[in-house]
Symmetry: C2
Subunit: 414 residues, 2 copies
Amino acid sequence: MRLSNQLMRNTLLRTSKTRYTASSLSSSLWKRSYSIKPISASTELPALDPSKLEITKTTTPKDLTPNSQLQFGKTFTDHMLTMEWTATDGWLTPRIVPYQNLSLDPATCVFHYAFECFEGMKAYKDKDGKIRLFRPDKNMERLNKSSARIALPTFNGDSLTKLIAEFTKLESRFIPNEKGYSLYLRPTMIGTQKTIGVGPPGSALLFVIASPVGPYYPTGFKAVSLEATDYAVRAWPGGVGDKKLGANYAPCIVPQQEAASRGFQQNLWLFGEEEYVTEVGTMNLFMAIKNKETGLKELLTAPLDGTILEGVTRDTVLALARERLVPEGWVVSERKVRMSEVAEAATEGRLLEVFGSGTAAIVSPVRKISYKGQLVDCGLQENEEAGEIALRMKNWIEGIQYGEEKHPWSYVVE
Amino acid sequence: MRLSNQLMRNTLLRTSKTRYTASSLSSSLWKRSYSIKPISASTELPALDPSKLEITKTTTPKDLTPNSQLQFGKTFTDHMLTMEWTATDGWLTPRIVPYQNLSLDPATCVFHYAFECFEGMKAYKDKDGKIRLFRPDKNMERLNKSSARIALPTFNGDSLTKLIAEFTKLESRFIPNEKGYSLYLRPTMIGTQKTIGVGPPGSALLFVIASPVGPYYPTGFKAVSLEATDYAVRAWPGGVGDKKLGANYAPCIVPQQEAASRGFQQNLWLFGEEEYVTEVGTMNLFMAIKNKETGLKELLTAPLDGTILEGVTRDTVLALARERLVPEGWVVSERKVRMSEVAEAATEGRLLEVFGSGTAAIVSPVRKISYKGQLVDCGLQENEEAGEIALRMKNWIEGIQYGEEKHPWSYVVE
């Protein structure tokens, strides 16, 4: 579609009563235009209110899937949490309802213009049977950033965390009490306006669904091999690659298939002529090297320059490294690293280990990276599936997630 | 979500019976990986078959909206065309059914990862009452390119054109017979797999909805003013900005709102340090200048380098310019143009006119462009709303669309 000012203006004007103030200007030059300023919906309209939660329980509870048969994101719990928003009425009553299909007009903007963003987080059961979330404030903060970037509404993060906590309590029986198991939570926001003019959605739906999941590596770590991708670009400065938008995912599948067709489990996204290492598949990437100049051990990851996702696990790994590895003599760096530097470190025996970081796996060790026809060896012995730092990080983080280590990052659902 | 090889592998393996061949390799290095090659679904699975079309007519036909009250994309016809695809069974029976909501599991991949692409095209009624499409082959070609880029299925373009023709015949009463009016058609493809692992969708839905629309400028051309955007970037080489993906649209709204807040109807996307002129809002951009070196009149637009949409109207304008303006001494160029060159041409009185091109407006004349604090005058007199080339293009193109000029671009629905 090739639509221009008229549609945009119509759309803006349509919502002007609620989200915009429109005033014609006296200048003859701009006689046909309007001064339109976005107004934060949250300052004027009803906010998300956890105290108003209404629960409708299912009358047909599902059978639990045995732990050994759990597959990521294929089975869901009995209910879903839903919150509607409109530009005129703000956030409506939050509801927990039986898990059910969404019924949407085919003109709904989520189908046409990718008005959609999401989060991935988990609920864990500790040894006392208490439900715990892990740094939910970080997910709330990121979801608000994602949604604002595509003109979807923002919300109070603490309110959504409270609602999610209620939801996990209701679905408690779906959270396995074995360590390594958890309930994956998927908060998702979509634009629901049912007109195909391109403009800010006048209505939205925030929903949370939940899928019980097993450990990422049921039989212990398995190192993966990557293909460095230089022919396709995931993200760029001034773009939206640092936001958790649906828009960032569909375009990544074909390059992943390409890597898979050559025997690599994931692709590693390089950026620019310098071939900076950015992300691996859908995870952030960490590299442990012996620094060429200083001789010191350095844990490296790409900086938050707008081209990589602001991973919660990335932030967690960095914080733990600064607290627990720096005293051992490690240097922790967020800086741009060229793929050629990584290859050089490998050749010179200075590449100690490489791992991805993300909510699903926590850490995912890397064995080899295919780059310009060579296989860069990432420092693992042949019979070794994880390096020392990856192992320690996984233990530290799981310890906090399952409440074995007392830590403010663990949010106990009361 | 931060998911890696295991999920990807599961997804690929799950579909391996149908879309992929998987074979383990003997190399010990790759003992955990697979050689996975995409196989074109169309070579093995049932293709889209227009002869199988099944029609279920509505029992509650809608009242027609008077021509004067038509608004783009707000009212739709009585029916919709739907075609389902699965990785195991290929394209299923095409159906025309009453316009109705889509009922989708909240885990459906279109909501999470933007598996969605679309087209915009129109059906016109000529003075003999015959229905005409305009270059539908171009829309079919582009939709196939868009869908392949995000691992959605491809289809035979002629088959979909035939089905769309049948659909327009059934909805004939919604196509106004006044010139300038038309039936806007929105073919849309979405991924419908209901699991949240990131991978190629195992099922998809292609649907077409239709909205009767009036002329873009009901009372004659109205020139628009633009704000040059340098702080946000729409597309990047190696990205997907040349495909008609939903992913390209949601991220553009906030920059459009920013431009609107300062009184400009649209934003003009600049690219790179050179500030190359790329697109305007959701249209391609044409500039007519007097060339500084040659003194010749030149009609310029950005080249298809992967960062601009491959507009059907853009292609049409270029073809007509080459056929009809070149003999008059015009030079027609697809080349990168810096915004500073455009500003310089304006200052030196060499900027003759500027217009956007797209399906909705055909051409949309530009009066001013805000750039680095100055207002670049695009060559229109104060009481003039369109330049000569924009006017002639609109007349030529409409003449073909409404069958006044016989032309192979006009597809008559029999």
